[in-house]
Amino acid sequence: MGLFDKLANIAAARQGLEAFGVDPFNVVIEEILSPTEARIGGQPVLLAGTNNYLGLTFDPGCMAAACQSINAEGTGTTGSRMANGTYAGHLKLEEELATFYDCRKGIVFSTGFLANLGMITALAGPGDAILIDADCHASIYDGCRMSGADIIRFRHNSAIDMEKKLKRLGARTENTLIIVEGIYSMLGDRAPLKDIVALKRQYGGMLMVDEAHSLGVLGEKGRGMAEDAKVEADVDFIVGTFSKSLGGIGGFCVGNHPGLDLIPYASRPYIFTASPSPATIASTRAALPLLRDGVALRKQVWENATSLYTRLQQMGFKLGPEISPVIAVRLGAREESLAFWQVMLNSGVYVNLVLPPAAPSNSCLLRCSLSAAHTPAQIEKIAEVFSTTRAQLAG
C-alpha cells in the first residue's frame, strides 16, 4: 500500500478523460480579454461559466485602485492578519463591510473557503452540533469536519426535514450552528430563508448564511438572500466571498454578536495564512460601493438570466428549479455530458462541467453563470450553441 493508492479512483477517472481526449478540469485561459471573453485553445471563446455576476473584473476604477495600491504598498503583505499582515486597508474594508451590512463587526479572511473554515471551526467544537443543508459547499463540509462537532444534515431546501432534525436535537439546539447558503452554487436555487429563520426562532440555534453566490445579486442593496427575504435581523452570521460579484479574491464574515471580536484570536484559518494582498483589498474596496449602488447591474444580470433560462426551457432542456444567474442544465450520462461540454467549447462557448459528487443527486450538469456584462447577442449565442450541440450529438 502506498500513499497514492487511495487516489486509484481518481487515476482511473483521469485515464478515462485522457482516452476521451478532453480534460474539462484542466482548461487554460490563454488570454483573458474581458469579463465575458477569453482565448482558449487558440480560439476566441465566450465565457458562460464564471462567477463574474456583475462583470466587475475589468472595471476601470477597481483596476486603477489595485494599480495604485501596488505602487504604494507593494505586491504582498508577507504575513498573517495576526502578525504583520493587517494594513490600514484591511481594517477599512472590515469597517466598510460592517457599514454595508449595518452590522457591528466585519472580519476579512484570505478567501471565502477560509472564511467558512475559520468561522465554523471557531464557533463549533466537540459536543456541539452543526445542522447543514445537504447541498452546502465543500468549504462548509470541511469546516464542519475540522470543528469536531456532530454534523447533521437536512435534505436540500427542506424546511420540513430541518424541523424534524431540530426537534430531535431538543435541548442541544442551544449549542447548534445552522448553516445554509443564499443561492446554491450548483443548481442556482434559493434557500427558503423565511421558513428557516422561523424554525430557528422556534427551536433555537445560531444561523450562518453563506451569501457567496447571492452577494451583489439579491436584495435592493445587493447584500444577498437575507436582505431579499427581509430576515437579516435573525441571521447571526453572514459569510461571503470577494471572488465572485466583487471580482477579486478574499472572504468575509459580518454580524452583530459581541463574540465576533474573539474570532481573530481563535480562528486558525484566519491566523495561519497570509492576509490578502494590498491590491486585492484596494480593488475590493473600490468594488463594494459599485455593488451596493449597482441596481442597474443587478437588473441586467437578472434580465440576462431570465432570457437564457427561458430560451433553454423553451428548447426543452432540463434546468434547475428556478431562474437565477446560475443556470444548471441537467444532462444524462457522464460520456454524453463530456461530449456536450467539448462540442460547446469547440463552438466557442465555455460552461462549467459538473460531475457527481460535486453535482447533487448524481446527475451531470452543465453549469452556466450569467453576468451583467453579457450582451443580448452573447446570450443568444450561448442558447444557439446549446441547440446546435444537441443537434450535432443527436445526429
Partner: protein
C-alpha cells in the same frame, strides 16, 4: 414503540440498502459498505438520511469514519437508539 433489537435493525438496514443498489447482491454482516456494495459517497448519504428517518435518530457524519461494514453500521444505529 418497543426498541428494535440487533436482528431487526439488521433486517431493516439490508432492506434499505437494497433499495439503493442496482444489482442484486448478497449482504452479509461483514460486507463492506463502500468496497463491498459499491455505495458511493452520495449513496451513503442517502442511506443515512433514510436510516435517520426510519429509526428517528441522528447519524452524525463525523461518526462515519469508523464505519466500514454492515455490522459496524447496525451497531452504531443500535447505540444511537439506545443512547
Amino acid at each position: 414503540m418497543p426498541v428494535p433489537d440487533y436482528a431487526e435493525i439488521l433486517a431493516d438496514v439490508e432492506d434499505l440498502i437494497r433499495r439503493f443498489i442496482k444489482n442484486p447482491v448478497t449482504i452479509e454482516e461483514d460486507t463492506e459498505l463502500v468496497n463491498g456494495l459499491g455505495l458511493d459517497s452520495l449513496l451513503v448519504m442517502e442511506v443515512i438520511q433514510e436510516v435517520e428517518d426510519r429509526f428517528d435518530i441522528f447519524f452524525p457524519l463525523n461518526t462515519l469514519a469508523e464505519i466500514r461494514t454492515v455490522k459496524d453500521f447496525v451497531l452504531q444505529i443500535q447505540r444511537e437508539i439506545g443512547g
